[in-house]
Subunit: 388 residues, 2 copies
């Protein structure tokens, strides 16, 4: 297996993109990434596309050849396929693209993620989101994704004394970062009081603890490390790409407050990259619900189990010890399911290149991306590193 | 890249399985394949699952960890993901599993395909099937999959003089084979007159020219060739695994009667295996509509363009020159979208092992599997070979 580099990145604005179709946003992100990689479309050898629910959302399955087609690439009959794993679909596509290049099968592949969530009513969108939980054992009994994460939050508060304010501090941080991100769905700042006082969704989680339903697409170009310098002065190496899974239903888990899929993926990633959590300068983590970010910081090994709430509230993860979600995360940058995992890589690459503008984490060399499907039946961890 | 062997195969009955859930059929096929491969579940290192539309059909996305979970494997947090490409989802999963073993990433992986189509009304199932065509340029104008294939059939008749009887002979052959297959959805024989006289669906195609909506699952275990003899006396080698794509919309193609995705995938497969169409002893090809089988035989290189109709009607592909679809194909064995491509590999492996019972093609050494999504925006070709 050879080393793999990210050669180019592209991303649309995230938000309510009512004037643009699924295929339009998919192509915009892909072409941006190709231009950024200084490649022409004729260099592309395969496409891996992450999308959770394009069939339910826009009546369109079979989207990988669709995007190739509308990018003008159909005449080359390239291999193309869609990868799905709930909200982790984008990072699973990155994992497959990584494998295709690492194995030597292809030199240059495009990995995309796209979702169009606002073409259906909010209630439908939320129902579709719950298709990433266990339909027969959770959803039919009325459990929705926010309800399941609220249950995890309640237990975290009970076991570890995590406060409502600590949960709220996750959303406040996300919006502070979103305000600096021109591609973010939400660019308004929030206060702790606003988050706590917001309309409840599933207590203790209010509407500002929950990431929005967004439209959006992101893409990256992967290639062999040995050719990376032909494309960029700041090549970014993928040091690890690891997938972990767990039970679908929360009630079947060893512990309600630990995502073992994240623990497994993180352990494998740090081991294979010969790195430790303390080496990470910048991280994009799953914060679809405020509690998810607190669990993630613990399960990734950045802080001891149960200690994330006070540490977050103290600012340790807003740049104190580590900067998490400089993009604004799912909460503020937005949550177009299948695009999220690819957009995380886009942000980490921009940070490691020193191209993140107002959001730049000074001197960032090692970055981590952490993507979750549903309530954690899938977790994906990528470690990226700047060469020098 | 190292050589890859199919070590075990498993398959449920195809048909209307109202008493069994998506997860139940998925697990049944997977466990059969593990037992057949003389492996325990603790040897499994990853799962690749093909399914086209589980979200729309059974309100469940995120199905790869679901199947691992209900197979009792969640505690190992294995990598698992779903692959989708319309009706070709199963063979795309095989392709990804092949790549994972060929690259050396894993030794033993399970590839599954599953679909549960009869839990929704027929009309809904057919609408969902059309999500593999181009929604914005075909489906919204009223085109359905049978309507699009009927258009291809009309053009084939116009260009090449293909007869209604030749189309019907595809279905007659499929049902003759289905009658010998205990797992087939349909085991009744048909006559040419019955096919031609059946209720029209989209002329010239009648209801007996169209494969049914079926429930079903299939699975295979892949492993490195050098370990194959530990598991079986008749190891089957995957000689080629190739994917081709094309435009989504039929009207955008160079030729309405040629599936360039199939031409591309077949050329790549024969080249990489250093084989020719004449070497193939047995083939499972895409016959979701009778015309699809005629196009496939031409596009795979088994017969000249336009000549498949008379050749099929003469029996050349019912064992004369080549045996196609010994299983009964999609038409008679059944058409649970995501399971089809995996089931094709199951049948080819059984044929090459000499374990196909009443359906056995004597002395079969080289087999081909050909899977199509939609009207051909994706085609996948696998070549398999018995060692001795």
């Amino acid at each position: 297996m050879r080393d793999v580099a990210v050669l180019g990145v592209g991303q649309t604005k995230f938000g309510e993109l009512w004037d643009r179709s699924f295929r339009e946003i998919g192509i915009e992100a892909g072409l941006q990434a190709l231009v950024d990689a200084k490649l022409s479309s004729k260099d592309v050898q395969a496409l891996y596309l992450g999308s959770m629910a394009s069939g339910s959302l826009v009546d369109q399955e079979h989207i990988a050849p669709l995007i190739l087609d509308y990018a003008g690439l159909s005449s080359r009959h390239l291999p193309a396929l869609r990868v799905e794993g709930g909200g982790a679909s984008g990072s699973l596509a990155v994992h497959q693209g990584y494998l295709a290049v690492a194995s030597g099968l292809y030199d240059y592949v495009v990995v995309g993620g796209a979702e169009k969530l606002t073409d259906v009513p909010d209630t439908t969108g939320n129902q579709i989101a719950s298709a990433s939980a266990d339909h027969e054992w959770e959803v039919v009994f009325g459990a929705t994704l926010p309800a399941l994460w609220a249950l995890i939050a309640r237990r975290h508060m009970h076991e570890f004394g995590t406060t409502r304010e600590a949960l709220a501090s996750v959303a406040v941080h996300a919006h502070a970062q979103g305000a600096k991100n021109p591609l973010a769905h939400y660019r308004n700042k929030l206060t702790i009081d606003q988050v706590i006082g917001a309309t409840p969704v599933a207590e203790p989680l209010g509407v500002f603890d929950c990431a929005p339903l967004s439209d959006g697409a992101a893409a990256i170009v992967l290639g062999p490390w040995e050719k990376a310098r032909q494309h960029t002065d700041t090549p970014i190496r993928i040091r690890a790409s690891e997938v972990g899974t767990d039970t679908m239903a929360v009630h079947h888990r060893r512990s309600v407050t630990t995502l073992d899929s994240t623990v497994a993926a993180a352990e494998r990633a740090f081991r294979s990259a010969r790195r430790a959590p303390a080496d990470v300068d910048v991280a994009e983590i799953h914060d679809a619900y405020s509690i998810a970010a607190l669990c993630a910081l613990e399960d990734l090994g950045f802080v001891e189990k149960g200690a994330s709430g006070p540490a977050f509230a103290r600012g340790e993860f807003s740049g104190g010890r580590l900067m998490v979600n400089p993009s604004g995360g799912l909460k503020a940058q937005g949550r177009p399911f299948g695009a999220v995992g690819v957009a995380q890589i886009v942000e980490i690459v921009r940070q490691l290149r020193g191209e993140a503008g107002e959001r730049q984490v000074a001197g960032a060399t090692v970055g981590l991306a952490h993507d979750v499907g549903g309530t954690g039946a899938t977790s994906v961890v990528h470690l990226l590193e700047r060469a020098n």
